[in-house]
Symmetry: C2
Subunit: 251 residues, 2 copies
């Protein structure tokens, strides 16, 4: 099985090194194509106004001077002319990607880019919260969640979002398949400051958000020390609203 | 009614000027907060690694040195302390935002940012194709589509994506409420080149994509010269897959 790894923290990130270590236990044909620099918050963005560079870092290891989506896109078009990957794994992200934050997530977006290309994809993130920046849960539970996922056929244009809880590995209570939750609105903080030349600036922070731990959501599962597995799809249509709106437009 | 306008083509874009002209016929409390520069392809990205600047361009007109999501986010946090907007309009984009391209769209992402904040939002785009860069259809049909939409209550965390077809205004056949379509995969082109210093680069192009004009989709409606109205929502969960995956994990 040919596996392509990518992420949004960049090719030198420790979470990618761990993902590579796990992937090599699952396959002997593992490729890496990741952003040259950290791209957190990049969302599903493509670099259109400037060129990107592809750098070879060794056998089947590449970086791209662009976003996670750029990395997947360029890899699929330039590295795999003959045999496309069977699976794309994105991560392991430094920090959770839960609830509506996934729309900003470069980690999830890289998996979306693969899904759009018809390749099964899994995004993986390690929650930290107050636990320090430890990937210990991802290291122990990564193979336990990936093996069953890889054994399950995925529908076209779908992906899976996995989040490892912030706790000691032996405190993990298991794996839960859950839906995407929603944050109550508090889109981080905005810090106001003055630059060295006396001009005003704003800087977006990422403060802890208030949220309701609805039952059956990724937010609840991770808070309760479960590995959260959320299947995602790419049709954003609000199907329930189509009939109502059609009436409004007379038909 | 307080209306906030934004876009991804930047504060000086002609599509924003047209949107402002239309919005002023619908309300006398219209605000603009848009990116200082063109941000096409920015997707739902936030600027986290550097500060952003807010510049006042006149009465209720502001630009932000960042992405469309930055612009909405900063506007909602800094411009409207006392009374939030009742509606956010994003556009009118130079070029269509249809099918799975909406995940890359700064225009749609700005509307998503508003929807996440609980504010009704509508993204508007003018298809061009071979018709030159004319906003004539948006100019004539904009009010006809906005008035009914503004009269229809929108559920929380939903938005509407509107695309005006590329044709003469008198060739437009009406308004259709349709679902999001999907492109057959052909994620644009990648041009390979050599820079002035002899180094290799890649540049993503946006070539015409092959797609299937499935019935009832935004792609079909615009191809058949209808204004396409697509209600969107922000829950990406693949609900149909939850049960199947839960079985896989013994749950």
């Amino acid at each position: 099985m040919r596996i392509l790894l990518t992420n949004d923290d960049g090719i030198h990130a420790p979470g990618l090194a761990l993902l590579e270590q796990i992937a090599r236990t699952l396959s002997d044909d593992v490729w890496v194509c990741a952003p040259a620099e950290e791209q957190s918050g990049a969302g599903h963005s493509l670099t259109l106004h400037s060129p990107v560079r592809l750098r070879e870092h060794g056998d089947r290891r590449y970086s791209v001077t662009g976003t996670p989506s750029d990395s997947v896109n360029l890899a699929l078009r330039k590295l795999f002319a003959e045999q496309m990957p069977d699976l794309v794994l994105s991560g392991i992200n430094s920090g959770e990607n839960l609830a509506d934050d996934i729309t900003y997530s470069g980690t999830v977006s890289a998996a979306m880019e693969a899904a759009l290309a018809g390749i099964p994809a899994i995004a993986l993130s390690q929650a930290f919260r107050d636990m320090g920046r430890s990937f210990a849960v991802a290291e122990e539970w990564g193979p336990k969640v990936l093996k069953p996922l890889m054994a399950t056929p995925m529908a076209k244009r779908t992906l899976v979002n996995v989040n490892f809880p912030a706790c000691a590995p032996d405190a993990v209570r298991g794996i839960r398949v859950v839906r995407q939750g929603f944050h109550d609105y508090a889109r981080g903080s905005v810090v106001e400051g003055t630059d060295p030349r006396g001009r005003n600036y704003y800087w977006f922070g990422l403060e802890e958000m208030e949220h309701t731990l609805d039952r059956g959501t990724d937010l609840e599962a991770v808070a309760e020390k479960f590995v959260a597995v959320t299947p995602l799809q790419l049709d954003l249509t609000d199907h329930a609203a189509i009939g109502r709106l059609a009436e409004q437009f007379g038909g």
